[in-house]
């Protein structure tokens, strides 16, 4: 089954047509028709190996689809140059390389690769991620959470309309993880679309994001803001979930089998 198109009629920033992603000819999911519009945020949920990272990489043009196509602002992804793609999509991978001997500012300057005028973004972005004090520090000397903020800053300097992140809070402690999620909320509020994969379904609630759910059957379902239920999560993760209201906030908690 395909995915219901949201906001049909408005031209989509990213659109997939019968897209199937995978490796070496092996499809990871059923064909998906997806429309992502400017200013929307999406959380990709699903078990390990369901194809979340692969779909993100395919949207970025880093990997060819098995079948179907990706269109960016109505142009087929394959017809765009790296620089054209970079103006629309910025990427923070799950395991980013931390370059040795590079200061925070030097790392951020790399974000301006496609256009030197973007260097002017750096002071603002440093403030946005609250990293101005580390400007002269080596990236390798920062903690995991601090590194992630700086890596996100590098992508923000790129001035793209969409920020694509692969499990941005994986491997982080609870405090750092909350800081990164808060930063993503703030980035959304600044008008940049955020598309990211996560193992925490509550991220969809925190960001008031649409959800793209990878089901064990290989189907992909989408949910608009605040429509995800504990029953849906049980289908995604094959684990029962509880929906709770804590201090006026709705949260999902996995129930042990």
């Amino acid at each position: 089954m395909g995915v219901v198109a949201w906001g049909a009629g408005v031209s989509a920033l990213i659109e997939t047509r019968q897209l199937v992603c995978g490796f070496g000819g092996r499809a990871l999911h059923q064909p998906v028709d997806l429309e992502i519009h400017a200013g929307e945020s999406w959380v990709l949920l699903g078990a390990n190996g369901a194809g979340k990272s692969t779909l993100l990489r395919t949207l970025l043009g880093l990997q060819a689809p098995i079948s179907g196509s990706v269109h960016i602002e109505n142009a087929p992804l394959t017809t765009l140059t790296s620089a054209q793609k970079a103006a629309i999509l910025a990427y923070v991978p799950q395991r980013a390389l931390i370059p040795e001997g590079l200061t925070v500012e030097a790392l951020l300057r790399l974000g301006a690769y496609r256009d030197a005028a973007l260097l002017a973004n750096i002071p603002h972005v440093l403030e946005q991620v609250n990293a101005s004090v580390w400007r002269e520090r080596l990236v390798t000397e920062l903690s995991g959470g601090e590194q992630q903020r700086v890596l996100i800053a590098r992508a923000l300097v790129q001035g793209a309309k969409v920020l694509v992140l692969d499990e941005p809070t994986a491997h982080l402690d609870i405090a750092s993880s909350q800081e990164i999620t808060a930063l993503l909320v703030q980035i959304c509020a600044a008008g940049i679309s955020v598309i990211f994969s996560s193992h925490d379904p509550n991220d969809a609630l925190r960001l008031h994001a649409k959800t793209l759910a990878f089901l064990p059957s290989g189907a992909i379902e989408s949910f608009s803001e605040n429509t995800l239920t504990a029953a849906d999560l049980a289908r995604i993760y094959s684990v029962p979930f509880l929906a709770l209201a804590l201090d006026g906030r709705h949260r999902f908690i996995p129930h042990e089998r």
């Binding site: 070496g24 991978p93 001997g101 200061t103 300057r109």
Partner: protein, 343 residues
């Protein structure tokens, strides 16, 4: 310097080190001109250098030793040292691998094989053959790596290095074969002598031979220098930031092959310098300078000049520079590594 990673305070600390390296090189240059089997006083060195500009009266003099033998030889040594060091740094940045060097890419072996075949057949100039060999191998390795990488989905850098090392081994086998084939009384010794590396025949002609390819490589590198750091982010993030990773890496390969083939054609196999000098330069740079291009070039030139001067000065028979390079360079390299590890 749009994408230059350095900020003013950092830049100043680095510039100071570059200045010290430059002065050291100038001092070494004068020492090199004064030392050798015919000792020349420092004052004569300077008058001989001024004689390079003004026409000199006919007749053999110490000034001729300096002007016709030592100056060109010192220039060749410095050019080779700088070219190899920068090629090494360029390989390490382009392949994001601290072990990368023109040797690892098979370029040195390809150039050497080309020259060996030329010497063996005597049909075309070894210098030209070294260029053709080096460039052909670089192209072959790059093309093969792209096809294998695209099909297997493996890390393209790893594939490139694997193929480079294997093709390099194949070229080394080819070189052994040419030695085995060569007439042991005429071509054989020429091959062996040439393969050992050395600047015994370096004169003004060799300076000229080096200039064109090195100028081309330098021009390419000056353009690449601002672009290459993006590869530090990894191929995928670099591509997502707007870089054409394949083109960048291929241009870097062209610059490396041009420079390396030129050095192999003139000085034989001295590639080990390309691996260690960038590490020395990085260890001597302030933290935060990830690509010390100028410092690598100066240190490479200084090291090669010092080694060559020792080779031709310590005994009546010239020592092979590869051996002196190892004896002098390895302990020094290890010392710098250990010192930095403690900091």
């Amino acid at each position: 310097m749009v994408l230059d990673a350095n900020r003013p305070p950092l830049q100043r600390a680095y510039t100071a080190r570059v200045g010290v390296a430059g002065l050291t090189l100038a001092l070494l240059f004068v020492i090199a001109l004064a030392s050798g089997r015919v000792p020349v006083a420092i004052s004569d060195v300077f008058s001989a250098l001024s004689g390079l500009v003004q026409p000199h009266p006919a007749g053999f003099s110490t000034a001729d030793v300096v002007a016709q033998l030592r100056v060109p030889r010192a220039l060749v040594a410095m050019l080779i040292g700088a070219a190899l060091a920068v090629s090494g740094l360029c390989s390490q940045v382009a392949l994001r691998n601290p072990l990368a060097a023109p040797d690892v890419l098979g370029v040195s072996a390809g150039a050497a094989l080309g020259a060996c075949i030329a010497i063996l057949t005597g049909s075309f100039p070894p210098v030209l053959a070294a260029f053709v060999g080096g460039m052909a191998i670089a192209l072959l390795v790059d093309t093969a790596a792209r096809h294998v990488g695209a099909r297997s989905g493996r890390d393209p850098v790893l594939v490139l290095i694997l193929i480079g090392v294997s093709v390099g081994a194949l070229c080394a086998a080819g070189i052994t074969l040419t030695k085995w084939w060569a007439d042991p009384f005429s071509k054989g010794p020429t091959l062996t002598f040439w393969l050992a590396g050395g600047l015994g025949n370096a004169g003004w002609r060799e300076v000229g031979l080096l200039l064109v390819p090195l100028a081309l490589a330098l021009g390419l590198l000056l353009w690449l220098k601002q672009k290459l750091p993006i590869l530090e982010l990894g191929d995928e993030v670099a591509a997502s930031a707007g870089a054409n990773v394949t083109a960048l890496r291929r241009l870097a390969l062209v610059a490396i092959s041009l420079a390396t083939a030129a050095t192999v054609a003139v000085g034989g196999l001295l590639g080990w310098l390309a691996l260690i000098v960038p590490h020395l330069a990085r260890a001597l740079s302030p933290p935060g300078v990830a690509q010390p291009w100028a410092l690598s070039a100066l240190l490479g030139a200084a090291l090669m000049l010092a080694v060559d001067t020792l080779c031709r000065s310590v005994s009546d028979v010239e020592l092979p520079p590869g051996v002196v390079l190892a004896v002098l360079g390895v302990p020094g390299f290890l010392w710098v590594l250990l010192r930095r590890a403690r900091l």
